[in-house]
């Protein structure tokens, strides 16, 4: 295995584009090293991104939007009070990833690019309308987060392409988001279902919403029908029931040892309701 310490995204893209065998990028390494250890993925070229300037930075621009570096670990997101105030749902999704030790390393970008349908930070990013900037041999392009994973372990990145930044839009007023996952254990477990909701209010009425589900399909889903079920409502009981029905309908899970397909479909609706209530409360100014 060749270990490369890239000093720019262009260099990292060049190394990846010219590499012949199995290539991996190294952010926190909490997926890569586990896969190496298991013999699942033995990279010929491993390209460490953490020496690239800016990869450890979180910046809020003048318009209120955020740029998150690709090497910022979960623990640092949680320690950023401004980010937690703007996007609590995004942060709480990432903070559910692993233990304190894993939080010291694991990144949003790694969680996204590993391509797990159960990745805990991805529904929050999708609901937030986050995008990624991709650098490749042909220059750079921007993609919505929901278009990055294309199947378990697969992404829309072409050979030589890598993510150079995550962008979160400006939060704006009267808005809130939330992520909930269901796991048998409260810590150190993989989501049976995950759900994130982001919404904006005008008075008591929801005027914008995005709903995302994890672990119920080959990729994390953006469920427009679930958002439509609550837009224009005050999140009354009828709207919550319609939301749950739309979320359950969109869920196309498999059955495995963590839960049957029927169970996951039911839980998708339950979590959507609960996450929507939390997001609504936050939009109203609740701090929880």
């Amino acid at each position: 295995m060749n270990y490369h310490l890239a000093t720019s995204f262009e260099e990292a893209a060049r190394i990846a584009a010219n590499a012949g065998g199995t290539t991996r990028f190294l952010a926190g390494g909490t997926d890569v090293l586990v896969q190496m250890r298991a013999g699942m993925v033995l990279p010929d070229d491993l390209i460490d991104l953490k020496a690239i300037p800016g990869t450890d930075a979180m910046t809020q621009l003048a318009d209120g939007s955020w740029q998150i570096g690709v090497a910022v670990p979960g623990a640092r997101l949680g320690a950023n009070a401004d980010l937690c105030r703007d996007w609590p749902g995004v942060v709480e999704g990432m903070e559910l990833v692993g233990s304190t030790q894993v939080q010291g390393r694991a990144t949003l970008t790694g969680n996204l690019c590993n391509g797990s349908p159960a990745a805990d930070s991805v529904p929050g990013l999708v609901a937030a309308g986050a995008t990624v900037v991709i650098t490749g041999p042909e220059g750079s392009r921007e993609l919505p987060v929901e278009e990055v994973p294309t199947g378990p372990g697969k992404t829309a990145l072409n050979k030589g392409e890598l993510i150079s930044e995550i962008r979160l839009p400006a939060r704006g007023d009267n808005a809130g988001d939330a992520y909930l996952r269901f796991t048998p254990r409260t810590e150190m477990d993989i989501a049976v279902v995950g759900c994130a909701v982001s919404l904006r209010l005008d008075g008591d009425k929801i005027v914008e919403a995005r709903v995302s589900l994890g672990a119920v399909a080959p990729t994390v889903l953006l469920v427009a029908e679930a958002a439509d079920a609550i837009i224009g409502t005050t999140l009354d009981d009828a709207a919550l029931d319609a939301l749950a029905a739309a979320a359950s309908k969109a869920a196309k899970p498999i059955s495995d040892k963590r839960g049957s397909a029927e169970y996951r479909i039911e839980i998708a609706g339950v979590l959507a309701k609960r996450a929507a209530k939390i997001a609504y409360g936050r939009a109203k100014g609740d701090n929880k």
Binding site: L46, G98, T100, Q101, R105
Partner: protein, 159 residues
């Protein structure tokens, strides 16, 4: 397979070693630096026996490559006592019988110290969540939590 020359500071001492890029920091500490206090339980980030601080952040050394430690500071269990004087956490673990086989103990001590350095007055719940990535097959955890709470109280009095 070319080896990489790695320069680090381990428990305050400058340390150099040659690492195969596939070797973890845990392998390097144990096999090249000769510090075997850091243990390997799972090798996959699940048990916390390999916990160390890397540039002041608590990590699993089995999930860090040796080459990634180049130019960084590593603190291991060997750096915890001052000479023969045990750290209050170490003393309280003995007093409370917070270990049986002891395999998880170095990792838990390093992790608990990282918590108390950051938060000298944690609630029991905070201690339990902080240590959720440190598995112990022997003690049932209660004695560990009590030892950490007691050490925290003693450290606060001394401060």
């Amino acid at each position: 397979m070319s080896k990489h020359h790695v320069t680090t500071t381990v428990n305050g001492d400058a340390v150099e070693f040659l690492a195969d890029p596939r070797e973890t920091l845990l392998d390097c500490l144990r096999d090249h630096v000769g510090l075997t206090g850091t243990k390997e339980g799972c090798g996959t980030g699940d048990c916390g026996a390999c916990s160390v601080e890397l540039d002041g952040t608590l990590v699993c050394s089995c999930l860090v490559l040796g080459v990634e430690a180049n130019g960084k500071t590593v603190n291991t269990i060997e750096g915890m006592a001052s000479g023969d004087a045990l750290h209050p956490l170490q003393r309280k673990f003995i007093e409370h019988a917070a270990l049986q086989c002891g395999f998880c103990t170095p990792g838990i001590l390093v992790a608990a110290k990282a918590l108390l350095d950051k938060n000298p007055d944690p609630t029991e719940e905070e201690v339990r969540y902080w240590l959720a990535g440190n598995l112990c097959r022997c003690t049932g955890y209660d004695k560990i939590i009590r030892a950490v709470m007691d050490a925290a109280a003693e450290l606060r009095e001394a401060a």
